[in-house]
Symmetry: C2
Subunit: 146 residues, 2 copies
């Protein structure tokens, strides 16, 4: 498994924030409820996202979390590397890409795959994910009214 729930949950949380952008801070409890995430675990993920500058948080009544940038400027790649660390498929590929040295046997295979994956994830933004989610809602509504 390339990703743990950290990446998954974290992206879901950012989608939620993006969807409520411009409405003031969004509370942790609301994110957790809407996205079905354990709130106290979400806390850790938000902390990481804050440290890396994806969100800003304010305390006290009416406080909560907000994106620091428009969702069009937040790539899936950046978010996942923030929450998961390197996405390299194999240790030796990660080493090599951090200026390390030896590539292991089949790493030419992995390097290609890795580069391609990063390229793709670098082109997808949180805004894309929100758009996709909205489409699905639309579809659900359409089904409903027929």
């Amino acid at each position: 498994m390339l990703l743990s729930t950290k990446g998954d949950y974290g992206v879901r949380a950012l989608i939620d924030l993006a969807k409520h952008a411009g409405e003031g801070p969004v509370q942790r409890a609301d994110i957790a409820r809407r996205r079905q995430l354990p709130e106290s675990y979400l806390d850790h993920l938000l902390a990481q996202l804050r440290r890396d500058g994806f969100i800003r948080s304010t305390r006290g009544p009416g406080g909560g979390h907000e994106l620091t940038r428009p969702p069009e400027q937040i790539t899936l790649l950046a978010v996942l590397e923030c929450l998961e660390g390197s996405l390299a498929p194999l240790g030796c590929v990660a080493d090599a890409n951090r200026g390390g040295e030896s590539l292991c046997g089949q790493s030419w295979v992995w390097q290609e795959l890795y580069d391609d994956m990063r390229r793709r994830l670098g082109r997808i933004t949180i805004a894309d994910l929100v758009a996709h989610e909205r489409e699905h809602e639309q579809a659900a509504v359409a089904n409903y009214t027929i």
Copy 2:
């Protein structure tokens, strides 16, 4: 990290067997020495490869391990799925691809990436890896003689 050392070591072992195909059984100790793997750990990997029909093993003096098929017919995909289980990047993708049900939020992204990776790995065989290794040896020798 998508892969653990299991996949890595297992592939290395199969490359070794492919390189010595037609010379009779290859001993675990020799594979371990040549490929720099812990022998008793390699034991487990060979057991798994045997259960899945990639290799055949014989005991007693002169015994060892051999490929059951020509290396051109063994894909990297098959080997890795044998040793690592599903290569799906995310749990929900694995579920969906085993006839499961719900795909999670961003899974359209992952499904595409996953399909592409499987296609690629399905086209690479152990024979390709051996060829690649031989080339590198050639290159090393060439450097030497200059």
